[in-house]
């Protein structure tokens, strides 16, 4: 395996435009107790550990991984909703870490967040008008007075933008269904016309029929508003559908980062391969002419037998005492296949650029034995 690059050069060497978001060596460590009785060294959970990546305007990046891998923590540190322990975050050229409270407010005009739970993220005591007007007032984006003509128009435009009728303005969150509430959450994020939206599992709590509506809405808005998404999800199907590049996280670290087609078509980290093999899907509807499905396909998916070979055993290890060496090795099918090489137990693999196999973009993998 060739180590082609230092972390700085890792992202999209082919492109000269400055990235919209650039993260370098980002860490968020929590102290969860002490070893020994009182005065021992602290026990750390490395929720996010030395994460480096960037994304350009208009390029959606997906962040996938299982629960507890640190993907949500990473998303929140970007807006400083959680204070990072160390590392650099630049959004549109602004150094996010050095900002004080007033400047932070300015940052949040550029970055907004959409949350998973449409029931918990809207204040139940505010009308939809108040919910949507609040960010406009805070950022001085609408002419006073409050509830004036201009403000009402702005709120109605936001509602129209997400496919809700103008009169929903007067109603309270509890009067809406889950899907409609998620629309309100999206409208609120869009109110300040941000450049980047960090969407943390925005469709995971929704039913299948509603999920498709919201996914399509996110795509439509992107086309209209020239937005970029950092899309955090455990659902590999939705991420493939929405993102151009995907990062896979395991125990606080990115283990694979590549263009979507390359990552899904030929995963090079055994964990990514296992994740993809674990996805369950119903068979395709039979159609005349197209034996497999009504929808055109970009590539073949592995057979059931092939998937079973890649299944993982055991559970993710405890984040307080991750395994030495490669944190994935106790569950790794490749480690077993290669007769348990010492290297996997002794040395932690770093995220390294590999020559592209599929597509043209760079393909980064943190595995000693990536092909």
């Amino acid at each position: 395996m060739t180590a082609l690059s230092s972390p700085q050069a890792v992202d999209r060497g082919d492109d000269k435009s400055p990235p919209l978001l650039s993260v370098r060596g980002l860490c968020k460590h929590y102290v969860v107790g002490r070893q020994g009785v009182f005065f021992g060294p602290p026990t750390l959970v490395r929720a996010v550990d030395d994460v480096t990546f960037s994304l350009r305007a208009g390029e959606n990046v997906g962040l996938v991984g299982e629960s507890g891998c640190g993907k949500s923590t990473l998303g929140r540190t970007l807006l400083r909703l959680i204070e990072p322990t160390s590392g650099e975050i630049y959004i549109d050229g602004i150094d996010v870490r050095g900002l004080r409270s007033r400047e932070l407010r300015r940052l949040r005009r550029h970055v907004q967040m959409v949350f998973q739970d449409p029931f918990g993220s809207l204040n139940p005591r505010l009308t939809v008008h108040e919910l949507l007007a609040e960010p406009l007032r805070v950022h001085g984006l609408v002419e006073p007075p409050a509830r004036g003509q201009k403000e009402v128009e702005a709120v109605e435009r936001l509602l129209d933008n997400v496919g809700l009728p103008a009169e929903s303005r007067r109603r309270y969150p509890h009067e809406f269904s889950g899907g409609q509430r998620q629309r309100i959450g999206i409208a609120r994020a869009l109110a300040v016309r941000p450049k980047l939206i960090v969407a943390d599992e925005p469709v995971s709590a929704l039913d299948v029929s509603i999920q498709a509506q919201i996914v399509n809405l996110l795509r439509d808005i992107q086309e209209r508003e020239n937005l970029t998404y950092l899309f955090i999800s455990h659902d590999l199907k939705v991420v493939e559908h929405l993102c151009e590049r995907v990062a896979v996280m395991y125990l606080g670290r990115i283990v694979e980062l590549a263009e979507t087609d390359a990552l899904y078509g030929a995963p090079r980290h055994p964990y990514t391969a296992a994740l993809l093999a674990s996805v369950v899907e119903p068979p395709h509807i039979a159609e005349p002419g197209t034996p497999l499905s009504g929808a055109p396909r970009r590539r073949e998916t592995p057979s059931q037998a092939e998937r079973r070979r890649l299944f993982l055993f055991g559970d993710p290890p405890s984040p307080t005492s991750p395994p030495l060496g490669c944190p994935f090795h106790p569950r790794c099918p490749k480690y077993a296949e290669l007769k348990q090489p010492d290297l996997c137990r002794s040395e932690r693999p770093v995220l390294t650029m590999l020559p592209a196999k599929l597509g043209t973009g760079p393909h980064q993998v943190a595995c000693h034995f990536a092909e």
Partner: protein, 363 residues
């Protein structure tokens, strides 16, 4: 037709609304399940799929009479259970005595739930809990119960079972807790296992393991399974037969392969085409417009009519029945080999199906 192990006939259940008054229509009761008929033959897995509010969990809970009454009220129907063991007669679980029910719960029919942490008691070790139903049903001592618990945990793939029996639930991961739940459910060799969203709270890699385990155990132990899930992928992986629920009714039922390959109800087609799939071209997803109706909004006619691309005048006036392909009222209920559809204008041919999918794109 072979005798079904479980035969639900025309089950109807209502719930009393919390803010109901004496003047509310229907005494404040809303119909949550309406004419549900399901058959689970011996050694077969039946899947029930539906979105939230479709009534699939209520169906599962009503079988073992686990719904609190009130607010629930059973309006009608039968839940017939015929044990395959010697000398057991058919009995209606809705009309069983509490003693009889207690014998059936765990002994003949066992259940596992979505959230293993809340279903396990945090102050007892898993060995105590797995052994509990053994002590209740088979009069084992505590020690015998514990050693049997080790065997059971081993069988469901809990590593290092002899040490794990002394652990408390919080010491286990989500996947291991679900394995413990399965071990508890299997402890008295049930003939039917009801699994209500057994993998919804789990990660994908753990989900794959648990689904694999459930199918292997079902085959090995020769039991039947009723699997409730909102996830069509989960249902397709495990079930031989599938019933689709919508707003408290079964709208389509067929052998799994038929249902997924040649669906006939517009809602089933809508669900299957709304899913993003791995490797699919990145075009717009097909939406089902609107949302699932609330119980209070259910009116005359087809319950899916407001969201259906093919709905006509008749659909809004006349309530469709669950019919077989010759438009006969189903002689045998969901669970037989037939494909049953509750639709006035079901999709008949592949060409129509293709057109139905296209119609949803255009709209």
């Amino acid at each position: 037709m072979p005798q079904a192990l479980l035969d639900i006939r025309d089950l109807a259940i209502s719930f009393r609304q919390s803010h109901a008054t004496s003047r509310s229509p229907n005494g404040g009761y809303l119909r949550a399940l309406d004419g549900i008929s399901l058959r689970v033959p011996p050694r077969m897995t039946l899947g029930v799929v539906g979105e939230s509010g479709s009534g699939k969990s209520v169906t599962a809970l009503s079988i073992l009479r686990l719904l609190p009454e009130p607010p629930a009220r059973i309006d009608g129907g039968q839940v017939l259970f015929t044990s395959q063991r010697d000398g057991e007669a058919e009995r209606d679980l809705l009309r069983c005595s509490p003693q009889e029910l207690r014998r059936i719960r765990g002994g003949h029919i066992a259940m596992i739930f979505q959230e293993p942490m809340t279903a396990l008691n945090p102050v007892y070790t898993v060995g105590d809990q797995v052994g509990e139903s053994l002590r209740a049903h088979q009069a084992l001592t505590r020690r015998e119960g514990l050693s049997r618990a080790v065997e059971l945990l081993d069988q469901v793939g809990v590593p290092d079972a002899s040490r794990r029996v002394h652990d408390y639930p919080h010491q286990l991961s989500g996947g291991q807790r679900q394995r413990v739940m399965i071990a508890m459910a299997l402890s008295c060799h049930p003939e039917l296992l009801i699994a209500d969203e057994p993998t919804t709270a789990l990660d994908v890699t753990t989900q794959a393991q648990i689904l694999d385990l459930l199918s292997r155990l079902q085959q090995k132990l020769g039991m039947s399974m009723l699997l409730i899930s909102h996830d069509l992928g989960v249902i397709a992986t495990v079930c031989q037969h599938v019933a689709v629920m919508y707003a408290g009714q079964i709208v389509e039922s067929a052998p799994a392969r038929t249902l997924f390959r040649r669906p006939r109800h517009p809602y089933t087609i809508g669900l299957l085409t709304a899913l993003p799939r791995l490797g699919m071209a990145r075009e717009r997803l097909r939406e089902i417009p609107g949302r699932v109706p609330r119980l209070s909004e259910v009116a005359q006619g087809c319950r899916f009519a407001d969201r259906c691309p093919h709905a006509q005048e008749r659909c809004r006036k006349e309530t469709p029945a669950l019919l077989d392909e010759h438009d006969r009222i189903a002689a045998s209920e969901a669970g037989s080999q037939q494909q049953l559809v509750r639709c006035h204008f079901p999709i008949e041919t592949s060409t129509q199906r293709l057109r139905a999918i296209d119609a949803e794109v255009v709209r």
